[in-house]
Structure formats: structure tokens, C-alpha cells
Symmetry: C2
Subunit: 146 residues, 2 copies
DNA sequence: TGTATACTCTACTAAGTTAGTAGGAATAGT
DNA sequence: ACTATTCCTACTAACTTAGTAGAGTATACA
């Protein structure tokens, strides 16, 4: 698992939208400015999140983006899988991929499977509700910073 | 953590050398053939492993490569770190890197730190002695295949 | 009906990484 | 001297990452 800028922006965006859940849509422009992402590039990230079913959009005046479900139902793993793709260190962990010679007797496969499991266990159990709680806990200082 | 071909070749090479530990050096050519890697590309991998202190070399006739320490003292993590570089999903996990805005209050950092820890815990505790045992366990069928 | 506001879509690009190739120089044993 | 082998430098094609650019489409509101 390696986090690219795209994934970084996506996570920050979803957290921001989570903090605006139930309110008016947030514009791409506002989001981009708050998380300090290049506006045009960031639009592409939002498009992928939308295709992934995480957010929905309202066009025109008063439009913008909003979460398509409750922050408690969205995990960090969801975002990572949508933006960064598969999280396993090597493809044959999931399927009987023809990467190594003999899958059945490969002594390394087991290791990558464990890494995959451990990573999934972490990122699939952190919801954006959890993250919101953390943000609000430190809110007393100033506006949240992601 | 993502495994590239280089890392894949390196792990297989070190396991092969582990199985020849205490014996004559193994030539790059023989290694490459057994693990099915392009000979010239594979040489580069060996060079990196040597620089990393994992293997040493003997030049000229009867030369080749051998482990510079016991298989019980080499872990999968050692090889990964040498060949693939840092294993954390984002740079600021290790240092106070200026990637995210405010490191102290970043709610994501904690997650990547956990992923880093979990991954390290796995790959740093598998030695090539462990892997040799596995290989020898299934040896009854034929020659080992990595 | 017009217009400002915002999302949508397609295409292009520069830099970096990955997975190699190619060719020769240096060294050691017989 | 010959041969086997490591060592060293440079090049390349394909792919990924992190953007840019610009036109097109939908919606609210006056
Ligand atoms: S068969 Fe996939 S890691 Fe070896
Ligand atoms: S400060 Fe590094 S993940 Fe946010």
C-alpha cells in the first residue's frame, strides 16, 4: 500500500464532506482550497469518488458535492480501494495469478497474504465517523486541519 | 508496500543462496536461470544486495555469490528495505515530513503508522531460515520451486 | 429568457519509475 | 594466455503520477 497525492486528496475531501454531512453541498472549488489541492486535478479525484459511489453531485448554482451515505458507513479502506486500486503487495495474493512459478508451493505468498490481511484489518475498520470524532476533539484550538 | 519484479527476484535469489549456504558460491547465471530472471537485469539486483551487505561475491573462475551471514540472521524485511526502499505508505510516518499541513493534528497519520507497524512486524520476523524449513518440508515432491 | 455558477468530459504533458538491454572492463583460477 | 565470472556505465520503451487546458452541459434564480 502506497498513498499517492490522489489518495491523499481523496481522504481529505471525504473527511471534509463528512464534516458537512446533512448540510448544503460543498463546491469542488471550496474543497480544493481547504485541502490545498490543484483545483483541476482535484476535480478528477472527485469524479472517481463519484463513480465509486462515495459522493454525489448537484450541478449548477448552489451545486456541489455531498456524501452519498453516512460517514459511519464509509471507511478509509473504501476510499483507498477506489482511488489507489488493490492494496495487496503482489497480485497473486488474491487470485491464482501466473506471476510466480508455482503458486501452491510458493513460500512467499503466505507473507504477502498476511500483510494484505493486516493492512485491510486496519483501513477497513476506520470509518469517517471515527475520524470526525478525532477532528472535533481537537477543534477547540482552531478550525480543523487535515 | 508493493513488490516489484526486482524485489521478487531478490527474495528468490536470497532464498536460493540460503539453500546453498556453507557451500561453493553460486554464479549469477545459475541463479538467474533457476529463478527465471533476465540475466543482465538480475545482475543489478545482486549488486544492490551486495551493497546492502546481504551477499558477497567472488570474482573470476569458480566465483559467484554467497550469503554474507547466516540465513537465520536475514529477514524478508531486510531484503525489501534494500530493494524496494521505505515500506511506509506515506513519507511523513517516519519523520516530520512537510507533506501534510499539520503533522501534529493530522488524523490520518495514525492510520499509516499502524499499517507501517503491522507490515514491519510481519516481514521483519520471517527469516530465511524459516523459509528454508518450509522449502525442505515440501522437498519430497521434486526440487523446490520458489 | 438570460446568465452566472458549478459540474462533466476529453485530451495533452512533463517528470519519474519499472523492467529491462547492451557492451565492455576488471579479476581470478588453471 | 585463456576462460569464467563479477563489475560498471549507459541507454531505452512502457507505464504511472501529478498535473494543465479548454470546451461542454446542467441548474437556480432574476
Ligand atoms: S505465487 Fe504469488 S508470491 Fe509466489
Ligand atoms: S501529516 Fe502525514 S499523513 Fe498527515
Amino acid at each position: 500500500m502506497k498513498l499517492t497525492y490522489k489518495g491523499d486528496y481523496a481522504l481529505k475531501a471525504v473527511l471534509d464532506l463528512a464534516l458537512h454531512y446533512g448540510q448544503e453541498p460543498v463546491t469542488s472549488h471550496d474543497l480544493a482550497k481547504r485541502i490545498d489541492a490543484p483545483a483541476k486535478f482535484f476535480e478528477q479525484v472527485l469524479t472517481e469518488l463519484k463513480k465509486g459511489g462515495i459522493i454525489e453531485s448537484r450541478r449548477g448554482n448552489e451545486g456541489g458535492y455531498l456524501l452519498s451515505k453516512s460517514p459511519s458507513k464509509i471507511t478509509v479502506g473504501d476510499i483507498i480501494r477506489i482511488i489507489e486500486g488493490p492494496i495487496e503487495p503482489i497480485a497473486c495474493v488474491k487470485e491464482n495469478y501466473a506471476n510466480c512459478t508455482d503458486v501452491n508451493r510458493c513460500v512467499f505468498r503466505n507473507i504477502w497474504q498476511k500483510v494484505y490481511q493486516a493492512t485491510s484489518d486496519i483501513i477497513d475498520h476506520v470509518t469517517f465517523e471515527d475520524l470526525m470524532a478525532q477532528v472535533k476533539g481537537q477543534q477547540q484550538i482552531a478550525t480543523y486541519s487535515i
